[in-house]
Amino acid sequence: MNTKPSKGVGQRMPLYDGVEKVTGRAKYTADLFPRDALVGRIYRSPLPHAELIEVDVSAARSLPGVVAVITGADCDIPYGILPIAQNEFPLARDRVRYFGEPVAAVAAVDEETAERALKLIRLHVRELPIIDSIAKARAPDAALLHDKKPGNIEREVHNEFGDTAAGFAAADLVREQTYHAAEVNHAQMEPHAAFAAWEPEREQLTLHTCSMVPYYVHKKVAQCLGIDTAQVRVIKPYVGGAFGARVETLNFEIIVSLLARAARGAVRMQLTREESMLTHRGRPESETRVKLGMTRDGRITACECEVVQRGGAYAGYGIITILYAGALLNGIYDVKNVKYDGYRVYTNTPPCGAMRGHGTVNTRVAFESLMTSMAAELDLDPIEVRRRNRIPGPSVTPNGLRVESYGLPQCLDKVEEASGWRQLRGKLPKWKGIGMACSHFVSGSAKPVHFTGEPHATIVLKLDFDGGISILSGAADVGQGSTTIVAQVVVEVLGVDWRRVRVITNDSAVTPKDNGSYSSRVTFMVGNATLDAAQKLKQVLVEAAARRLQVEPDQVECLGESFHVLGDPSRAVSFSDATAEALVDTGTLHVKGTFTCPIEFQGGKHRGGAVGSTMGFSYAAQVVEVSVDPVTCRVSVDKIWAALDCGFAINPLAVEGQIQGGVFMGMGQGLSEQTRYENGKMSAANFLDYGFPTMAETPPIEVFIVESIDPNGPFGAKEASEGPLAGFPAALADAVRDATGLEFHEWPLTPERIAKAMEAREREQRAAARKTVRQPATAGAA
């Protein structure tokens, strides 16, 4: 073992599980399927909206090889991620509300039998009008998706902070614009998969699933099966990307569990790509109307924003999403007067959910776009305008959010300089352009989804006779690196050799509960809990070493693999001896660390005020350079410069990866990604048609890390993954405007959309030319 204390944080190191993943050794849920498990398949609604009169599964049930068939009749307990909005059944009852909604499920001895059984299921329905757009949902005589939701409104939000009327009155320029963003899907690499084993003798269920929130899955599965949570064990293997797709309990996780119990055995279920996309929970299509007031020198005096989101058929995270869309109008610039109106509507499309940048992305895109457009009108540089609106110092936003560390100005400096902005903006050749925008995101929601009074994060360190330190973590690593972070923090505090440390994650029977990987909470909260645990373990070991060395604990210096008497290195005990001493009389050590966000960080007092609350915001600025092909109207992104204030980079390599990934995802939304529907039926549910970018469209992304050292983050760290996304679509549109002179208010900027705008301009130019020819005198006079 090492003689010098090992360094943990601030190190550029590959992810703890990175080698397994890139070499293909890592086992994902579907790789772990037991061979003898039954095959579970879901029968899905072929209709977007219909009353279910009968679900006839008799023929399927009597097919040889079919072991169990279940329908909505087998579970009458609704579920949903938010305790106040649980309106979804794992299998539809009475009514189907989107194309692809699960209606029945079969467990059979093999794939072919399961497939044949599905074909034998018959539906008797009464079709209902398909409400597949915001306009249809909000029409005065629209059919209602849910009984107690008039106007198909899931949630309205109205709030005003400060005095917007006065703010607009004080402005020199007031502009208003509506922006439209298409619905997007996470398109994570690994399709959904789960397997459930019901042990009839012990009446216990073990569920393996690809979740980001095993704790919520645990609760909801127990709830829908009507069993005690003690009867359930949830294990999360490696996960191949998530981005919010798995941040709530999904129907298939409950269905496979119901099937396992019905079949009294083990059932495996692997969804196809189409089914994974139909499960959806992506970013909703949204219409965002923003109005800003600006002084002549670029200061924003007021902001008014109305957001309408097409939420899909069920509640899911919807209430949080529509609240987030308004809450994060704040916290990035110093704007005192902010009014927000939000509407989340129900439609016959798959339920939307939380996707990277939850709720905040389309609002930010709209805000940034208008801000830049107004700057241009005032002949101001967009970067300069952002500087003029910076938050002066630690402060509380009008809606009660706390800003403690703020590295946005440094981010702006970095990308401005590196990109050569001042030399390029407005000066590139025709069909080339450069644009910019900013964004931010929370480092964990300061108030958990389910309030329990428990700490917000818990980590257990186990130390036993072998001297190995097991970090027991419930944090769900879905590729973002939480497993790596906890290991780095432990090694940093204890200074022990890396080979002494193991991370054991996500087995509810072994690891402590964690709320899950949402709202970028893990590095901040779990990181802090790990820090607490490691410091406590260190204290235990120092005290044990002191006993062996017969000095007071404050006389002991910890060097990782050994403990010395201060000032006398010759008097030392090894880590093993200190461990042996620490185990005397107590045996195996379990040292627990926790973290809780103090109440003053938990948001404003107004209704919904907890949403957006956090202990620290990440900040990002990016510059994007593009070329537009005048013939194909295709935009190529030539270069991206992205800077992120993540407080402190516990692992700079991982942070860079997250920034690139976030920017890339913003690029997908900006350039080409969108879900499509044909009469309410999702129809580009595959990776050929959905159109996320490939490596061929991905330019060099130059990344800059800004470290503002947050006073509350572990070692000063904040969020590093969601923040950099939202700037991209706005920066892209800004760059395209610089290249073509055309302003876009709709995303994605597909070649077709750009061609249409070019054609419209060509028509206008032709008409103007005709007019000039016909009326030379008037034109001359004007």
Binding site: P46, T632, S636, S672, L688, P693, T750, P751, E759
Partner: protein, 324 residues
């Protein structure tokens, strides 16, 4: 996917006899077109004759001023071949734009020329098509793109065929009724359901392309992403120049009809200067030849616009470079 009988012959003759023109039998090459379609239930083959083990289908040779490429040559091998790059670089250029690199490692020239036509209503899962009550091309009766039409408008989206067409390729076919050679263009028909004029059991053995020398040629396709995507429209051009005049010109399109096709009547421009009247006439000729329908997620109007734009641009650029 259904249960399959897969056989793997070692020679062309064996392949043809194993296939025998039987109903439900099909040749399997790289499988990059066939297998995804079969998984979606679009082709219900019961017997697959895997031709990837046939050595003679994988040869590339240059003889008597012509390049002969076996139908089983992978697109990756085609792109890397010195003979192809020397004598018909246009083919390597077009092949390099097919799908993505991993597809090209398996995909063959024969499969590319013979790939099925495509449509938004057709290239969908069985679940989706069942819910949308199918269409004429598979299991249904009406065309969803043009409901009052009696034909199918699915488009042929191969990238290599237009390049082959402008170079005047001929194909060798072996089948239960014997061997034959014919121009590649004669292989295709304007019908989304039956775009190939192949008899049951006909095997494409090789393609012969006269050397490109004397021609300046290019291929460009339009797609949303820089790789993987099929062409929304693709244009191949071969041009010969004498002084300031066009000595000869051929233009072929893909992705915009049920077949890859040469734009007719361009001979009229031999010996003329490519002035604005010429480009206007070229656009008119291309417009007349192509008929993109709403069979892709991208609107037909866009595909038409870029097909015209690309033809104009490529001809202009290639004429310039031919003079250089």
């Amino acid at each position: 996917m259904q249960e399959l009988d897969i056989v793997k012959p070692a020679s062309v003759a064996e392949a043809v006899s194993l296939h025998g023109g039987a109903v439900g039998a099909r040749y399997l090459a790289g499988g990059t077109d066939l297998v995804p379609n079969m998984r979606r239930g679009l082709q219900k083959s019961r017997k697959l004759v895997d031709i990837t083990g046939i050595e003679e289908l994988r040869q590339i040779a240059f003889e008597n001023g012509a390049l002969r490429i076996g139908a089983g040559v992978t697109l990756e091998a085609l792109c890397a071949s010195d003979l192809v790059r020397r004598h018909a670089p246009l083919l390597a250029l077009a092949a390099s734009q097919v799908a993505g690199p991993t597809h090209r490692a398996a995909a063959t020239l024969g499969g590319n020329l013979m790939q099925d036509t495509r449509c938004y209503f057709y290239n969908q899962s069985d679940f989706w098509r069942t819910a949308n009550e199918y269409c004429m091309k598979a299991e249904g009766t009406i065309c969803r793109v043009a409901p009052s039409s009696s034909r199918c408008w699915a488009s042929y989206c191969g990238d290599v065929a237009p390049a082959m067409l402008v170079l005047g390729a001929e194909v060798d076919i072996s089948g239960p009724t014997g061997n034959r050679r014919e121009p590649l263009a004669a292989l295709y028909a304007d019908d989304g359901l039956q775009h190939l004029k192949l008899g049951p059991g006909d095997l494409l053995v090789s393609v012969e392309v006269p050397a490109q020398s004397g021609w300046t040629a290019g291929y460009e396709k339009v797609r949303v992403r820089g790789t993987i995507d099929f062409p929304l429209a693709g244009i191949a051009v071969a041009i010969k120049r004498e002084g300031n005049r066009i000595a000869d010109l051929r233009v072929a399109c893909t992705g915009v009809n049920a077949y890859p096709g040469l734009v007719p009547n361009l001979e009229a421009w031999r010996g003329k200067e490519p002035d604005e009247a010429f480009f206007a006439a070229l656009e008119k000729a291309v417009r007349k030849e192509i008929q993109p329908m709403e069979s892709t997620l991208t609107a037909a109007g866009y595909r038409k616009r870029v097909a015209l734009g690309l033809a104009r641009k490529l001809v202009g650029e290639l004429f310039e470079s031919a003079g250089a």
